[in-house]
Symmetry: C2
Subunit: 910 residues, 2 copies
């Protein structure tokens, strides 16, 4: 039995791991190892593996046997390499202890700096650095961090004495606090520590180290980290690694500093060196956004040598990693140290630009460029900006504050000052802007639901900016003039007060905050978008259609690249006349009259009045989709959705139709269903009221014939919803063809049309082989198929589904099955249905028209099932196009990998 | 190409078909052919096959080519055999034209008698019979029948002149009408025919014959016939045959007559010759119940010779057919003719007695005896009788009328005088007694829903009696003193008036009608029932459990032969204390308090109050099921089912709990769901509120331990409802075992228990292989599985499902999938689920606990799926026991048949 290795050393140009070991070393650990190997200036240290964290949680928070010794050995090595000793009174080694999982979770887990300091070694540090003030500041920071992070004591309680002291001394900046002040504070903190925890602050560095390791492991399962993983759909990780690294100090004076930089602009994607820098500061100061940093190009002026070295690192790293890197560095007394490198987060627009640029630079292939875009981010390219038609003077008059343009796009919403309130208001449908002095990982939930985020402090790499950018969510940070009062729930600049609930508008591209809700418009797409999407279209096999019910939507979707309509819901036409809104009422009355009729003749009369409306709608849609197929679903929702449920509206309706309100009320009552989802809807309506089907088919075919006459190429596909049996579909199919063929015959023209069905009930999927004897196409209605297969009402699941998706609670599902297909259960039925259907009818056309058609993972799954097309809402058509391309590349890569493995297996056998 | 034969002759001791040709000749035709072959006295004739009827409907009501000639040829043969000619003026041949499908549908289709009469041949008939009165009576009957049956003219319009004439002549009986009267009526009818149809009454016998054939074919699709087939679940027939048979006359005088008889008593099953007889009458007079017939034993006195001959026929036929026969005969001038024989309908009790008797007589095997019982009829054995404790004098004072005891059992209900009203009232939950002068096939719908049937005329073989007996439904006929007034909706005897809506009680065993609703009790089972059910138990493999929620139900079910509880629903215990009803309120309050609690501690407090109640219930159930397994399902329904929805009750609850009514109302509102069927229910409740699970498991295990201590053998099986995922079940399984194992450990006893799950969602069936890693047993909840697989809410399907089952409308399903399993769709999932589950866990125990567990066809299907048991409601346990035995016999017979076929194929090959 080989003994498992838990700890990996790096330093002095050598490393036990490398950059490919992300799963085991975490992103940070792998980056440090890799940078060490390629001879970049990296402080020495070691990484405790994610496997140790996994073990820790599986064994009820026990460290693995052997870890103790490995850590001790690595500390010894580190002491040898650095020629310093932990806790030493003359030349002490100080280390940072940082988390780092295989996927970046910025700010979600814990860090402890300056570990190794105690009442003895602080003196050593002071002696070595010849800077007592610095040494005690470092000690104070360590005690503060240890108290809060490891012991969980109150941050606020510890901030308070610092503020009090600064006030007493009449100073503003921490940098102005004298050594005596820090000394005093260390004593105060240690007293507080003893009071609150009942024990002395630990002075043994190894005890400190084990406390810190446990705290980092613990932060893996902290609520904010779990929430972040859920929101970001991060699953399958073992845990966090722990990086123990020799401390270097950016806060030893004006010749020191710390910064975060990107190899390209993470907002625009432009190939410029981009970053923030703070002189005489520790790294946490940049990330926390407490001080507003300088631009990197200022560093070129103040520290030209270091800047040049950094620029070399930038080039080397991007070439090495073949992607934009997000780096942390520290300059200690003019000496550059790289503390971290990782693939940088970027805005969707930047992702497109970088993808296209890097492919053109031959840094990556086009296929790789395709894989670099998160399909769900594309939607954010279409987020609105403030309407440029607004007069500049008007605009200026509404400026509330300016700040840093952290994430582009614009958003309008009502002001809230806390994350919980943001969630509460958003829940009830309000658009909110979350306003905070600064954000912290605790705010992630509120940030996720906000339309935009505004902070008073922080830079482009502050927590707020990084998180918002990841989501492509409009964000303005560092609006320093903004005075935020959490107590009175208001903020003000120059006496102008904005209260909770007031509307504001953020311009994330310019970094401006406006009072009032300004009109927003959708921006032009970046050129790189068009290029990359062309590459995607060339790469994919799966067709992408759209769900569109109006000519307007159809045109929009076609702009987004839709190759037809996969789902045109006809019932919306019963409510609204999109062309002549004043006619909507007439449509509603006609359908209501139809529903209230107590015999077929009266129903037919009412339907006759709807016919011209539907025909006109279809003409508009066919024209918009000239040359492309249009799948039209006949009426689907239960009839009660068309009638008024409150007495006043019932009275109005009764009066207009000249009948008693009791008749209306009784009919509405009759239509009530215990479970409307499983009730009298879908094609069941056409079985009971064939005249509805007849009117709708007539409208479709008459519209098609008319369009064809005027030279429009029409490919209508008539779709019956909620089918569950071959005989049922056969009745509907015959009724459909009877009406259609008769009209076509009379027209003297030729018109090809298809008749098919939705597959949205388990029984339909199970009996797909029979149903395909009738259906010329299948369209999987995965919304309903998910509801019935899982016995989950989408309308009601909000009460318990979150628990099912939350890994800290039941964690039954990794994602919400209404967002991303349940490939195991629902997917099994789909696979069966497609296979059985194609066995009967090899050329059966198969698509999907549920919401999942716009979800990238689901689109990829549909490709693997051999579907012909997916259908998505217009804004999500590009997502589907890209996902369809990505799955091709992914399958190709997987095949290449298998071939390679097979080859290497063969060659190793011979 | 062989030419298809459509017509089959029988007569003069020879027949082209025989008794095994039921599918082609229909029951009547096959019986006539068979009786001819075994030398019984049968009038000659021919049968047009059901295949011709099938062709007729498939070819848009065209007769097959060649049929014309075949009919003409057969008429010629018939004329030769009988030495009479159709329409002949001196020696005319008269024929009857009767329907007859492969399965008996008494009175559902049409008959025309005396065909061949016209103005010429009537004289011939008069001459031959030397009875002008008889000849014109026959002619009048023919014209009357032809007018109504073939031409669809009004029955009432034709009855009216007859009644008028009798009044004019001052006579009461038809037999008293003189020849001149009939002559006059014939003329009147023919005039009426001309007026109404616009053409002359046809005098050409072949024209008459073709009209009659078309009318018989037409009656196959008449609404009443279609309804009957649906109610009786008769499917897969080709159509009706048409039997054209030489007329013999029971109405030529006192030496003639007609009757219907059974080889054994169809009510009791006793081996006695049993029947009704009318002197000087045609067969229709008996069946229609217009005149009240004599008992068959009177015939032994009046026509001893014929009676002896009939007795011989009885013995011969029963031996020949190996089953009780229902025969029609006519005596013409002392000469016996058999007109029909068929297997007789019988009451459920009679079926048991005959089955056991015949098996003991070695007429049939025990296996055949098992197959002879319709499982769904068993339930009717348990129908109530009037409580014998009622004082005889009291009873006598309540007699409204006496009649013929047509079908045993008793029923109480409110009087209605029409079938539509019966259906209407029954729909809204009323118990009704349908009261009619006589019933006709149009009344079948109303008869089906009535608790009992009462007619003023008719005998034991009248329409009312036959139909009601088939259903085992209490029926009294021939209560001749009853004056029924359809106009004023009342009936009376001796001035005692009963109006629509008044309660009456029928005693079908004694033939008595009582005013008021009398107390009914359940009768003792016949001895033959116990014997036959023992045979069934010996024959079956499938175990039968029961669905029971109380000790009372459990005991009852055990009496019915239940071998354990397959479903004990625990939520009923939250509503009702069956032992101490006054405690029910306390239970309800506790569960309501639990629901209204806003934190776990408060919920636990409320649950603690429920614990002793549930424990006591379980103790009672375990004791009742001593030695047998008890499957207990944890809470299943959504919580809103436990809280009051009207303001008054909410106020009461709020007051009792000392909280605001708004809090109650808000919580109730919160619990509202759009689709509760797919909502927060089943094990989802235990995921959200683990404390409910903990309390229930505690109650189960504590009860089991207590029972075990007192020597009761307990086999608890804890079942989680609505599971959809392995991980979900694993969470529940762990929570269950944690509580259970802890209690068992502390008790110091050993206790075996199982933890399993319902399979009631498609996803659970699909992923059964995984779920079986956790579940020790599966119980298919086919109610919900049917709802979700088909997307059909049982509560709402009433609006359209009838159309889906009605073969005249959509006819998508042959039966209601909530009554009999949808073996194609739901069944596919079940088969998959069982196979996948057993692959993971070969000894997985599998059962079913939906309503289908008490449906014979579904039980048989479950056997073929390899289930271990079915679970049915107590009264349906015997149904399941018998069905489980029948399927064994059926499978054995099918195997024997295959072996035989294989052998004969082998031997014919060699």
């Amino acid at each position: 039995m080989t003994v498992k290795k838990w700890v990996y050393f790096f330093g002095a140009g050598k490393a036990e791991g490398d950059g490919s070991w992300r799963e085991v070393l975490g992103g940070k650990g792998a980056g440090l190892a890799e940078m060490t190997k390629i001879s970049l200036p990296v402080p020495a240290g070691f990484t405790i593996s994610t496997e140790a964290c996994d073990y820790y949680y599986k064994q009820d928070k026990q460290f693995p046997a052997g870890l103790k010794k490995e850590v001790a050995d690595n500390v010894a090595t580190l002491e040898r390499v650095t020629q310093k000793k932990l806790g030493d009174a003359t030349n002490p080694l100080l280390v940072s202890v940082r988390s780092g999982s295989a996927r970046s979770m910025p700010g979600m887990m814990e860090t402890i700096l300056n570990l190794g300091l105690n009442d003895r070694s602080v003196a050593g540090l002071a002696a070595v650095t010849k800077n007592e003030r610095f040494a005690y500041d470092a000690y104070r920071r360590f005690v503060q961090m240890y108290s809060t992070v490891v012991m969980g004591l109150s941050k606020e309680d510890l901030e308070h004495p610092l503020r009090a002291m600064k006030q007493r001394l009449g100073i503003k900046e921490d940098t102005a606090v004298p050594a005596s002040g820090w000394k005093e504070l260390v004593a105060e903190y240690q007293t507080y520590f003893r009071e609150k925890s009942g024990k002395d602050f630990p002075h043994d560095p190894m005890e400190q180290l084990w406390g810190a390791i446990a705290a980092v492991f613990g932060s893996w399962m902290a609520e904010k980290a779990v929430t972040y993983r859920r929101v970001e759909k991060i699953t399958g990780l073992l845990g966090t690694a722990v990086n123990v690294v020799q401390m270097v100090f950016g806060n030893t004076g004006e010749n020191s500093g710390t910064g975060v930089c990107f190899t390209r602009d993470p907002s625009s994607g432009e190939k410029i060196f981009y970053g923030d820098y703070l002189v005489n500061a520790q790294g946490e100061d940049v990330v926390a956004g407490i001080r507003t940093p300088m631009h990197l190009d200022q560093m070129a002026k103040t520290m030209p040598k270091v800047y040049a070295q950094l620029e070399q690192v930038r080039v080397k790293l991007e070439k090495h990693y073949r992607d934009m890197q997000d780096m942390e560095f520290t300059v200690e007394e003019g000496q550059l140290y790289m503390l971290q490198t990782r693939t940088g987060k970027r805005t969707p627009a930047a992702a497109f630009r970088m993808g296209v640029d890097m492919a053109n630079e031959k840094l990556i292939t086009r296929e790789e460029a395709l894989l670099r875009i998160k399909p769900e981010d594309i939607e954010r390219l279409f987020y609105p900006v403030i309407d440029s038609k607004i007069d500049r003077n008007t605009l200026c008059a509404k400026v509330l504050a300016t700040g840093i343009n952290a994430v582009p796009g614009a958003a309008a919403g009502r002001v809230v000052f806390s994350a919980p309130k943001a969630e509460e208001w958003a829940e009830r449908g309000e658009k909110v802007i979350l306003v905070r002095r600064e954000t912290s990982p605790e705010d992630v939930g509120g940030m996720a639901v906000a339309a935009g985020i505004l902070t008073a402090t922080g830079g482009k790499t502050s927590h707020a900016a990084v998180v918002a950018r990841g989501w492509g969510k409009c964000c303005v940070v560092g609006a320093e003039k903004l005075e935020i009062d959490y107590q009175s729930l208001s903020m003000s600049t120059n006496g102008q007060v904005v209260r909770e609930g007031d509307w504001i508008t953020l311009d994330g591209s310019e970094g401006i905050v406006y009072t009032e809700a300004l009109p927003l418009v959708v921006p032009q797409l970046p050129k790189s978008y068009e290029i990359l999407m062309k590459w995607a279209d060339e790469a994919r096999h799966l067709r992408v259609r759209t769900n569109a019910d109006t000519p307007q939507d159809a045109r929009k979707a076609r702009e987004f690249g839709a190759e037809g309509i996969g789902l045109c819901r006809t019932e919306h036409m019963f409510f609204t006349d999109f062309e002549f809104p004043e006619k909507s009422h007439e449509r509603q009355r006609a359908i209501q009259e139809m529903i209230l009729a107590d015999n077929k003749e009266a129903r037919v009369r009412a339907l006759d009045r709807l016919l011209p409306f539907q025909r006109r709608d279809f003409i508009g849609i066919f024209k918009a989709m000239d040359g492309l197929p249009v799948t039209i679903r006949l009426i689907d929702p239960p009839l009660h959705e068309f009638v008024p449920h409150d007495r006043a509206k019932q009275e109005e309706l009764a009066k207009e139709l000249g009948i008693s309100v009791d008749v209306v009320a009784r009919r509405v009552e009759q239509l009530h269903e215990a479970n409307p989802m499983l009730g009298h809807r879908g094609c069941r309506l056409a079985i009971t009221y064939p005249e509805i089907l007849e009117m709708q088919v007539r409208a479709i075919i008459e519209a098609a014939l008319e369009c064809q006459k005027s030279g429009v190429k029409v490919l209508p596909e008539i779709m019956h919803p909620l089918t569950l049996d071959k005989k049922e579909l056969s009745i509907l199919d015959q009724a459909t063809r009877r009406v259609a063929d008769d009209l076509i015959l009379k027209s003297g023209m030729k018109l090809n049309y298809l008749v098919g069905t939705m597959i949205e009930l388990p029984r339909a999927a199970l009996l797909a082989g029979e149903i395909a004897e009738i259906a010329e196409f299948f369209s999987f209605g995965t919304n309903d198929l998910t509801q019935t297969t899982m016995g989950l009402s989408r309308d009601d699941a909000g009460r318990f589904l979150p628990d099912y998706v939350d890994e800290k609670k039941a964690g039954v599902f990794s994602t919400d099955p209404f967002q991303s297909l349940d490939t195991k259960g629902v997917g099994m039925l789909m696979r069966w249905g497609i296979d059985a259907g194609r066995k009967t009818r090899p050329k059966l056309k198969v698509g999907i028209c549920g919401e999942h058609g716009g979800d990238a993972e689901s689109v990829k799954f549909c490709h693997t099932l051999g579907m012909d097309y997916v259908s998505a809402s217009p804004f999500r058509v590009p997502i589907a196009r890209l996902a369809a391309a990505q799955v091709m590349v992914e399958l190709k890569q997987a095949k290449q990998k298998r071939t390679k493995q097979a080859k290497s297996a063969t060659s190793s056998n011979t």
